[in-house]
C-alpha cells in the first residue's frame, strides 16, 4: 500500500516555486505516492518539473482566475483533490497564501495541522513532524492523529533533491471550485523591485541595522546584497524609524529567514532579531562593537567600521 501525499504547489513564471520543490522533495523522501496540485497560468508547464521531483500525478487547472488569489475558490478546488485522492498527508508551503489555505482546510476536515514544519517522518500508520516553537528557541516533535493530516512547510529549510528528468507525472485536469463573492481582489500592485530576490526564499540575505546611521546610507546594504546576489533585510529599528518598509524586517514581528548565508551589518543582535535569523546556515556579523551580541551567533565576525568595510567587501566579491 502506498499512501497518497498531496502537495499544494505554487507556480511562478510557469515553474513550481522553490518552497513547492521543497515540499515535493520532502514528500518523495517519505516514500508515498506523491501527487501535486498546480493552479493558474503555466500550471501544466510547471507539471514537468513537479514530475522530475517525484510527483506521479499532477492535478492542474490553468484557468487564469487562479492567478489572482481567491482563498475560497482555491480551498474548494484543493478540497476536491484531497477527497478524490484519499490523501493521507497534505503538504503546503508555509507562505502567506499557503498558510491560510492549510488552516481553512484543516478546520473543514477537523484535521491535525502542523504549522511551519522543518521535517516530517512516517510513524506507523501516521506521521510525525518537527517544528520550531518559542520563536525557534525549542524544537517540538509532534504526532499527527487522524487522516488526512496537514502540514505547512517552512520555506528555505529543507533541501531539494536533484531533479530526475527520467521521472514524469501524469497530468490530470482538476475542476475549479466555487469562490466567495464576499472577498473581492481589487488589485495586485507589483512593486518596483519584483526582479529582486524575495526575502523569505533568498539563499543569501544582507540585512542592515542601526549602525548605518540613516536611510541615506542604506544603499551600502543594497550594493552588498547585489554583490552577493541576495535579498535585502532590515532590523526592527530600521523599519520603525521608517528607513525601510515592514516587508524587509527580519525578526520577531517581521520575517523568519533561513538563508544559506546571512550577513548582519550594523545590527547589534537583540533577541527579537536573533529569533528571526539564528537558524540561517552561515552567519556573518559586521559590527564596530566587539561586544555586540550578534557575534555570539555568528560563524564569522568582523569588527570593523561598516562604512569602510562594506564597500571593500562588495569590491572583493566582484573581483
Amino acid at each position: 500500500m502506498s499512501k497518497v501525499i498531496l502537495v499544494f504547489g505554487q507556480v511562478r513564471n510557469s515553474e513550481p516555486t522553490r518552497p513547492t520543490l521543497e515540499c515535493l522533495s520532502l514528500a518523495a523522501g517519505l516514500g508515498g505516492d506523491v501527487h501535486c496540485i498546480l493552479l493558474g497560468t503555466g500550471a501544466k508547464a510547471a507539471a514537468a518539473a513537479a514530475g522530475h521531483q517525484g510527483a506521479s500525478q499532477v492535478w492542474a487547472n490553468e484557468d487564469a482566475s487562479f492567478d489572482k488569489w481567491d482563498l475560497a475558490a482555491v480551498a474548494n478546488t484543493v478540497d476536491a483533490a484531497v477527497k478524490s485522492t484519499g490523501a493521507a498527508l497534505v503538504l503546503v508551503p508555509a507562505t502567506t497564501h499557503g498558510k491560510e489555505l492549510a488552516g481553512k482546510l484543516a478546520a473543514r476536515h477537523s484535521a491535525a495541522l502542523a504549522s511551519e514544519v522543518i521535517g516530517v517522518s512516517a510513524d506507523g500508520d501516521g506521521f510525525k513532524a518537527v517544528r520550531p516553537v518559542y520563536s525557534g528557541k525549542v524544537r517540538a516533535t509532534v504526532k499527527l492523529s487522524g487522516s488526512p493530516v496537514f502540514a505547512t512547510v517552512r520555506p528555505n529549510v529543507l533541501d531539494v533533491a536533484a531533479a530526475d528528468s527520467s521521472k514524469t507525472a501524469t497530468v490530470n485536469d482538476l475542476a475549479a471550485g466555487q469562490g466567495d463573492s464576499r472577498i473581492q481582489l481589487v488589485s495586485v500592485e507589483t512593486k518596483g523591485d519584483t526582479g529582486a530576490v524575495d526575502l523569505s526564499e533568498a539563499r543569501v540575505v544582507v540585512a542592515g541595522g542601526r549602525g548605518l546611521k540613516g536611510p541615506e546610507n542604506f544603499h551600502l546594504i543594497d550594493g552588498l546584497a547585489t554583490a552577493f546576489n541576495g535579498a535585502v533585510g532590515a532590523s526592527r529599528m530600521v523599519v520603525d524609524a521608517g528607513w525601510k518598509e515592514h516587508r524587509y524586517q527580519v525578526g520577531q514581528t517581521g520575517k523568519v529567514v533561513t538563508p544559506e548565508l546571512y550577513v548582519a551589518v550594523g545590527i547589534s543582535g537583540a533577541i527579537q532579531h536573533l529569533v528571526g535569523m539564528q537558524n540561517s546556515g552561515c552567519i556573518v556579523a559586521i559590527n564596530n562593537n566587539p561586544e555586540a551580541p550578534i557575534f555570539k551567533v555568528a560563524d564569522y565576525g568582523v569588527v570593523a567600521d561598516l562604512f569602510e568595510f562594506v564597500p571593500k567587501l562588495a569590491e572583493e566579491l566582484k573581483a
Binding site: L71, A102, G103, K104, V133, V138, D180, C282, G301
Partner: protein, 255 residues
C-alpha cells in the same frame, strides 16, 4: 461596530525558555507572561477602528487562570470588555479556534481580529481556522485596513514582491500584521486604573475540545547548538574583506 480581538498570553521573548523534565513542556516558574507581541498590533487596529466608528472592542482569549492578567492588560490598551474562555488543556490550534468560534457566535461581531502568530506556538493557524469555523471571509497578514459601511478594504504583501488589495464584506476575520495601525499604545496609569473597572467574563469552553487535539507534543528539545564562531583577522578593512570572502568560498562554501 462590534469588534472582537482574539489574543493570547505568551512568554516574554526575552525570557530564557527551559524545557521541563518530561521534555513535553516548558518550565513556567519565573517566566514572565505577556500579551503576544503580534496581538498588540491587532488590538491597536481594533481600538483605532472603534474610536473612529464607535462601538466596542471585546478581547477574547483561551487559556488557564493566568490568562486573565493578559485580558486586564488588553482592557488598558484599547479593549472595552473581555471574555476569558477558561481552558487549561493542551495548546492546540484547532481546539483554540473551535473554542473561540463557539464563543464569538454568541457575541455581536462585525470584525474579528486575530494576529500573525503566537511567539510561543509559532503557528499562525488559528486565524484561517476561525474564518472557516465561523463561515466568514478571512484575509491573513493585513498591513492596511479601512472600514467603511459594511465592508473593509485591506492590503497585504505576498511573496514575490506583490501587494494584494481586497474588498471584504463584513463580518469578516482579519489577521492584522505589524504596521497595520502604527505602534501599539502603552498602558497609561489612568488607563490601567480604568481597566480595573472594566468587566472580564469568564466562561467554560464549549465543544468537545479534547477530541480536536490531534497534534500531540511528543518531545521538546533544544535546537543543535551553533558551532562557535570566530573573528576574521586582518590589519585593514581590505585585508578582512579578502579573508572573509576566502572563508565564505573555501571553508563555508556558501558563495
Amino acid at each position: 461596530m462590534n469588534i472582537i480581538a482574539c489574543v493570547r498570553q505568551t512568554p516574554d521573548t526575552e525570557t530564557v525558555i527551559k524545557i521541563n523534565g518530561a521534555a513535553n513542556g516548558i518550565e513556567l516558574d519565573g517566566v514572565k507572561l505577556v500579551l503576544g507581541p503580534y496581538d498588540e498590533y491587532a488590538l491597536e487596529a481594533a481600538a483605532q477602528i472603534k474610536e473612529k466608528s464607535g462601538g466596542e472592542v471585546t478581547a477574547v482569549t483561551v487559556g488557564g487562570e493566568k490568562a486573565a492578567e493578559t485580558l486586564r492588560h488588553c482592557l488598558a490598551v484599547g479593549a472595552d470588555k473581555a471574555v476569558h474562555i477558561n481552558d487549561s488543556g493542551a495548546d492546540d490550534a484547532l481546539a483554540i479556534a473551535t473554542a473561540l468560534a463557539n464563543q464569538i457566535k454568541k457575541l455581536p461581531h462585525d470584525l474579528v481580529f486575530v494576529s500573525n502568530k503566537g511567539t510561543d506556538s509559532d503557528r499562525g493557524a488559528v486565524g484561517p481556522m476561525l474564518g472557516e469555523l465561523l463561515g466568514l471571509p478571512y484575509v491573513g497578514l493585513v498591513t492596511e485596513i479601512e472600514v467603511e459601511g459594511g465592508s473593509a478594504t485591506v492590503s497585504r504583501d505576498v511573496e514575490g514582491g506583490a501587494k494584494e488589495k481586497f474588498k471584504v464584506t463584513l463580518p469578516a476575520v482579519i489577521c492584522a500584521q505589524k504596521g497595520v495601525r502604527g505602534e501599539p499604545r502603552y498602558a497609561s496609569l489612568p488607563a490601567i486604573m480604568k481597566a480595573k473597572k472594566k468587566p472580564i467574563e469568564t466562561v467554560s469552553p464549549e465543544g468537545d475540545l479534547a477530541s480536536l487535539r490531534k497534534v500531540q507534543v511528543e518531545k521538546l528539545e533544544y535546537p543543535p547548538a551553533r558551532p562557535p564562531g570566530r573573528m576574521v583577522p586582518g590589519e585593514s578593512a581590505a585585508d578582512k574583506a579578502k579573508e572573509l570572502v576566502r572563508l565564505l568560498r573555501s571553508e563555508a562554501k556558501v558563495i
